[in-house]
């Protein structure tokens, strides 16, 4: 335990003292603030939304607009977090966790100290997760402060609860990417190889997954020239299932339901259609319903993270320290 905490504190200090960590932190902050109040016009859009009459009670989540509203030419904070910031932060923090130590010749010296071997990998993983948590906390707090100051709106208690849930979910999501990067850093010796491997997976899920899902759907549930409703539903259903293999999609759905309870994702609509036959269910989801909806998503991301970490852990523990 003491060994793990020593590794943890050292790694945490490294993340915040190294240029890599500092640049990463600045990037996350700048992009987030820009997406919210930059010249993109997100703030104007929020103001406009606030002034329109409340539809289906959606206006009661005005504070959350800060995180989900996009501007003219920049996507929303949530989009950046989902697609770019959290995956990149996780990958960058973990990409040389183990092979970096091997290459610099510090691993054998480290392992010759009286600590259990898993103290190294546990401490590093924990330090990465805490770094992600600190970055996300700072970012969310800064955006909230902007909300207080510029728009003069304060969050309701439910909004705070939703934000906290979103905060926890994004840390879990970050842990997934961190685990992925660490897995490759255990398996590959050159840092370039491990970095490209995790970036490749991120790029696939980020840019090509929707295309892959569409292709799968068209193959498994082909549509005629003028698709009937059942055909269309089946096709969309397959497409959604396929794209849920992507952690980006899972987190995207979960965070949208959390932060924009008045909106409906395609998946939700489909689910509601099957459940009640209704085409559209008016009114935002309550917190309880939200949790019910996103619970499978969270469990899947958590499970994937645990799986990745377990594989790295076992591999690292069984690895032989060779003379070269």
């Amino acid at each position: 335990m003491q060994g793990m905490m020593t590794v943890f504190y050292k790694e945490l200090a490294d993340h915040f003292n190294s240029w890599r960590g500092i640049i990463l932190f600045i990037t996350v902050l700048l992009v987030s603030i820009f997406a919210t109040i930059g010249p993109s016009g997100a703030l104007e859009n929020i103001r406009a939304q606030l002034e329109t009459p409340v539809q289906y009670g959606a206006g009661q989540y005005a504070f959350l607009y800060l995180f989900t509203t996009s501007g003219e030419d920049l996507p929303s904070f949530l989009w950046f977090i989902t697609r770019f910031l959290v995956p990149i932060v996780g990958i960058v923090l973990g990409l040389d966790a183990i092979n970096g130590e091997k290459n610099s010749g510090t691993l054998s010296r480290l392992l010759a100290q009286p600590i259990y071997r898993d103290a190294v990998i546990n401490g590093k993983f924990l330090a990465g997760v805490v770094t992600i948590a600190i970055m996300l906390t700072t970012t969310i707090l800064i955006i909230s402060a902007i909300g207080f100051n510029v728009l003069g709106i304060a969050p309701s208690s439910e909004e705070i609860a939703r934000l906290l849930l979103f905060w926890g979910t994004s840390i879990l999501y970050g842990a997934f990417w961190l685990g992925l990067a660490m897995l490759f850093s255990v398996y590959f010796r050159p840092v370039a190889t491990s970095a490209i491997s995790s970036l490749g997976i991120w790029m696939f899920f980020s840019f090509f997954m929707s295309m892959a899902a569409r292709l799968t759907a068209n193959m498994l549930a082909p549509m005629s020239q003028t698709p009937t409703t059942p055909e269309l539903l089946k096709n969309v259903g397959v497409q959604i299932t396929a794209s849920r293999f992507s952690p980006i999609m899972l987190f995207g759905e979960a965070s949208t339901v959390l932060l924009a309870p008045g909106e409906r994702t395609a998946a939700e609509m489909l689910q509601l259609y099957h459940a009640s036959g209704a085409r559209w269910m008016p009114g935002p989801l309550t917190l309880g319903q939200t949790l019910l909806t996103i619970w499978p998503h969270l469990a899947t991301i958590g499970g994937l993270t645990a799986l990745l970490f377990a594989i790295s852990y076992i591999r690292f523990m069984r690895e032989e320290i060779r003379s070269t």
Binding site: K10, S104, S108, R109, L110, A112, I115
Partner: protein, 312 residues
């Protein structure tokens, strides 16, 4: 009283994919020894060390340090053993003192002791002036000295140094070796030094073991080894006299323990079972001979090395 056994291996064996890297190694190292672990590259020295530290599991056999089983109780072994790997590395972005403090904390030293110990260790290896510099700016030799400091921070009972002098200039090597010998003496630390540089081993080690193709071909006290390996267990003494007479040769021959005497001009080459220099000198002086020079033939490690290397 027998000295305490620090390192003991019993039939220690390691195979990597059917190649035997270390083959039934039986090693015994006593307290206070400076043990030179010799052998050509790829002889299995590093693998043996990794097994001693419990970082690699032996295929068969056991390794013990101070009675602790390296495979089953690696933490206890690592608590009392310091290790400097070959091509030792540090965190380049961190300062020298931070690097050492990390080691100290990993060893569970209380925080007030960490700073003290780090300061002392840097002082001993002469790196205090650069304590707050990033290790990335250090030369190879400075890093090697930092590695010694890294061991001092831990104050182990045994230190295992894998090629501690690689990549340093000749003068640095001498300094480094003297430093190691001094530390070992002052702190009563047992040292195992891996090297393929014979001269270095000869300079500070009192015992050597030579590993060739995973087998320990020779092991023992340095001077004893030379006699056994080359002289058939005998000592050769060379003397120069002002004037050699057959009478003098005879009286040398009569000394108990002298095996043979060869004469070539004024030089006598005496083979005996022990170091009989004092007796020989006395015999010559008693017979009114004029002794100019007397040399005992030293066996250089290199001769031993070559002999076994060829045989292997």
């Amino acid at each position: 009283m027998a000295k305490q056994l620090v390192v003991q291996t019993v039939n220690l064996t390691k195979n990597y994919d059917k190649t035997t890297v270390v083959d039934r190694l039986n090693l015994r190292i006593e307290e206070g020894d400076i043990f030179g672990f010799l052998g050509p590259n790829g002889a299995g020295k590093t693998t043996t060390i990794l097994m001693l530290l419990g970082l690699t599991e032996p295929t068969s056999g056991t390794a013990h340090i101070y009675g602790y089983n390296s495979t089953r109780e690696p933490l206890k072994v690592k608590r009392i053993t310091g290790y400097v790997p070959e091509r030792v590395g540090f965190y380049d972005d961190l300062t020298a003192s931070y690097n050492l403090a990390y080691t100290a904390r990993l060893n569970g030293l209380p925080e007030e002791l960490v700073i003290k110990r780090v300061g002392e260790s840097l002082d001993i290896v002469g790196l205090s002036p650069v304590a707050e510099q990033r290790v990335g700016e250090f030369s190879r030799g400075m890093k090697q000295r930092l590695a010694i400091a890294d061991i001092l921070v831990k104050t182990p009972k045994v230190a295992i140094l894998d090629e501690p002098t690689s990549g340093i200039d000749p003068e640095g090597i001498v300094q480094m070796l003297d430093m190691i010998a001094e530390i070992a003496k002052e702190r009563n630390m047992t040292i195992i030094m891996c090297s393929h540089q014979l001269y270095q081993v000869q300079r500070i080690c009192n015992r050597v073991g030579m590993l060739v193709n995973g087998k320990l071909v020779i092991e023992g006290l340095l001077d004893q080894l030379g006699r056994e390996a080359l002289g058939g267990g005998r000592v050769r003494i060379e003397i120069k006299l002002a004037k050699t007479t057959s009478k003098l040769v005879d009286c040398v021959k009569r000394i108990k323990g002298v095996v043979s005497v060869e004469r070539s001009g004024d030089l006598l080459l005496i083979t005996c079972q022990d170091d009989l220099r004092a007796k020989i000198a006395k015999a010559i002086v008693d017979a009114n001979g004029l002794l100019i020079e007397m040399k005992i033939q030293k066996y250089a490690l290199e001769d031993i090395y070559r002999k076994y290397f060829r045989e292997a």
